[in-house]
Assembly symmetry: C2
Homo-oligomer: 214 residues x 2
DNA sequence: TAGCTTTTGAGAGTTACTGTCAGAAGACAG
DNA sequence: CTGTCTTCTGACAGTAACTCTCAAAAGCTA
């Protein structure tokens, strides 16, 4: 069994948890510590030498673990950067929405809501991650693939609520569009150093979707 | 200099050309032949054993070239599958649109137009490719990244026409959404074996974007 | 403390990909 | 059609991201 379980837990999830869950066995605490050490070492090296120029061996050495241990904590080098913790948050957020709200609004809120939370807690880290996202093709590709998974989950949720098929064209279209638009807004925000108000950027983004002026 | 040049030419482009350009030096014809041989061998092995289970060495052996030669023709294994020939076609198509047409309509046509052409000419190959796209994460990731590049190009074109900044949130949003929606429709089409009418699927897709019923 | 489970490091192997180099093969001039 | 010049090719050696196996170390439980 890999570390990081149970049931399914990824990087940022573990770290959030770490702050709350004090009474944990020594083993668990050590794992958390190791995970953090690897992460920290990696990001340090990345910002010094760049992502591609940094080898896993170097990261392992800097974190004072063996290369094998690295792969026990992160299945791939990319996984260091990618975090996929929004999904459960989004699900909760979506389910808390009134059932008679316009679907597109629910989706939008379900996506932006957790974003706000995460951003409030880990602004700097998110910015750094987005920077890597922009600079490193492998990471961009990987993140896009993750986004697709998120989309599938959202489709399932919408299907539950509407009765429409989750793999039908209508829902998929809707979700794909909302996802694309939000992601574009977040990227834009990150590109400009996170100085703008993300909230209003999101508004602008969604508005220009419907805007017939264009 | 890599094969496949000049100026910039990718897989499907070379193959289309091959049918037309008869008077080509022996060298060029040989290159084309080699390229096709590698492709064919690869797709054959892929459908027998799957993508990941097929090594580059196997492909090279089956195509009767050395592994080094493989990489001279295709920079990565993924490049065998990905084709990026739509971009120039889309650019032409977009420029041929009347300048006073609603922007979103121009974009939409610029994207669906070349699609029709390619589909008419190479339906089976497109289907096969989409199948790999769905099944192989690495390919999906790669294709998504390519799509992003396409988006950047579209933004530049739109910027030219509207005077808006190409990296502004408005254009990026618009393009991202249209791209996401079309891609979703094409995937849907491919998933169902290409039996549906792609044209009307695209209509449905774009309609459910604006549909307030959802 | 003794015994069980989990975590760890060492090491060997696979695969995608890069770079170099010498020789083979098409192009081209005289 | 011969010699030269350019391009293409295969052999080879290397790197880096993974994967697997196994025995030792460390935490847990009684």
């Amino acid at each position: 069994m890999t570390p990081g379980n149970p049931p399914t837990r990824t990087a940022a999830g573990a770290e959030l948890e770490e702050r709350l869950a004090a009474p944990l066995g020594l083993r668990e605490r050590k794992k958390l510590k190791t995970r953090r050490a690897i992460r920290a070492a990696a990001f340090g090296l990345f910002s010094e030498q760049g992502y591609e120029a940094t080898t896993v061996d170097q990261i392992a050495a800097a974190a004072e673990v063996s290369p094998s241990t690295f792969f026990r904590y992160f299945p791939t080098k990319e996984d260091l950067v990618i975090s996929d913790d929004y999904d459960p948050l989004m699900e909760v957020s979506f389910r808390s929405r009134p059932a008679d709200e316009p679907l597109i609004e629910s989706v939008r809120q379900a996506m932006t809501d957790p974003l706000r939370q995460v951003l409030a807690a880990e602004r700097e880290e998110v910015l750094l991650r987005m920077q890597l996202y922009r600079a490193v093709p492998a990471i961009r590709a990987r993140a896009l693939a993750e986004m697709q998974r998120t989309g599938e989950m959202m489709c399932r949720l919408l299907a539950e609520r509407t009765g429409l098929p989750a793999d039908g064209l209508e829902l998929r279209t809707l979700v794909a569009a909302v996802l694309a638009v939000s992601s574009e807004a977040v990227q834009y925000w990150a590109e400009r150093g996170g100085h703008d108000d993300l909230e209003s950027l999101l508004n602008t983004a969604f508005r220009s979707l419907g805007s017939p002026g264009l």
